[in-house]
């Protein structure tokens, strides 16, 4: 199951009427949104949305019924067991050699405020102003130990950019921490704090 479908299922199961709704589905051969809503004292649209979501996730059968004056849908359970199987590895940041070879430095006039960690030799957080006008707000990113050491060694705005791999080596960060480093680099790039330049051949390997 991919993350979006797992999130939909999780959202459905977290509703306070979910258990009662599933009880009805288990005990009735089939159920319309109107029937479910009248039993659980819900708005019919609420029941309809819940049942449609479960149907889109493949847990319910949805059949059109024409027995009344207007056509409507009836829902029936396809299975009495729900398994939420989510592979978290699919969420990992791609740390291909090309990403580690990306040459970066702090962007000029980024306006970021760096807070030095207690004891020095690392940054503990970065604060950046985002948005415009009334929606302008300060976004503060608290850093992990490895990310803090990495940012401490990030080249200054006017300095020669260095590859992620070289900065990691200078900061004494293990290669196994590369995904979290690449994650903060991507976030700071999106916030305009870090800028990347073209990869210099061979630097990723040398790092």
């Amino acid at each position: 199951m991919d993350f979006e479908r797992a999130a939909q299922l999780g959202a459905c199961l977290s509703k306070d009427y979910a258990a009662e709704m599933l009880r009805l589905l288990v005990n009735y051969r089939s159920l319309s949104a109107s029937e479910a809503a009248s039993r659980l004292d819900l708005h019919v649209q609420t029941a309809q949305t819940f049942l449609d979501t479960l149907a889109s996730l493949g847990l319910l059968d949805k059949e059109e019924s024409l027995e009344k004056s207007r056509p409507y849908f009836r829902y029936s359970l396809k299975t009495t067991r729900i398994t939420l199987d989510l592979d978290l590895a699919s969420l990992a940041v791609d740390d291909a050699p090309s990403d580690l070879g990306k040459r970066i430095r702090e962007r000029k006039n980024a306006g970021a405020r760096f807070t030095e960690a207690r004891g020095g030799n690392a940054i503990s957080s970065v604060a950046v102003w985002t948005g415009e006008g009334r929606s302008r707000e300060e976004r503060k990113l608290t850093l992990t130990e490895a990310q803090g050491a990495f940012l401490y060694h990030l080249p200054f705005p006017g300095a020669e950019p260095l590859s992620v791999a070289v900065i990691m080596k200078k900061a004494g960060i293990e290669e196994s921490r590369a995904p979290e480093i690449l994650d903060i680099v991507a976030r700071l790039q999106a916030l305009g704090v870090v800028e990347a330049s073209a990869t210099r051949s061979g630097e990723a390997q040398s790092g």
Binding site: N109, G120, G158
Partner: protein
Amino acid sequence: MYVPGKLKEDRSITALLPALVTLAVFFVALAMGGRPLGWLVLGLAFAFFAVVAARSYGRTRNAAILVQTAYLGLAAAWLLVAPGSFLGIENPRLYRLLGACVLLSLVWLLYLFLGRRLKWRGREILELAALPVKPTPDAFTSRPRPAGRAEYTRGEILSFAELLRRNHLAWAYREADRVVLSPVKAGQEFPYLYGWSVPDYRDRTWVAFDFDGNVSAQVSREDYLDYREELSLDALCESLAAVFVGFLEQFRKGEARRIVERLDDVSRSPVS
């Protein structure tokens, strides 16, 4: 050696403010109550400055401040007991002796002042740091920069920090695992010497030596903008750290005097 200055000229009159305010108060008192009141006010002002100076000695241990304290204290006594003033004494010999002491301490103080023994040397340090840095369009960042490693022991770096503070080269902040040295410019020393608490170094220029041998440096926005031209911040931080590492090496070789001589080559002015 002539060193072309890279810093903007110091036109601040902060250092003169206490004297100017004292003079103004003295003339107001003189106009309102004549010589007795004028002398009393001036004497009390000198006594106040003597106490404040004595307190600042406790923070820096600079011997020249003791001479300054002695001069201010003696001058206060001389003014307060002047014949004809409210607390005047009728003993001309004692009064003349006191006057001679004031004169002697003033001459000594002037000697120390002209020898830059009371001056804070932050500007000279920033000038030295900027010497090898070429003007390049750059942008400021508030991040400290790692500046390599240096050889020293914990005891050596603590003694070195003490030396810099005693000679008014930099304010030393001792932390659990490092020493931070922040150069203080002439005219900006008052909060350090007389404030209720010493200013935080985080937004200022500093060089840190941790007890594992790592050196890092930061240049404050205020100091960066004080240079006439835009300098490479990266190179400036590196050079600033190199200046302090150079001082440390001279200190370790027992050539601490050369540190002050090197700064004297940058500027011979006793005030800025």
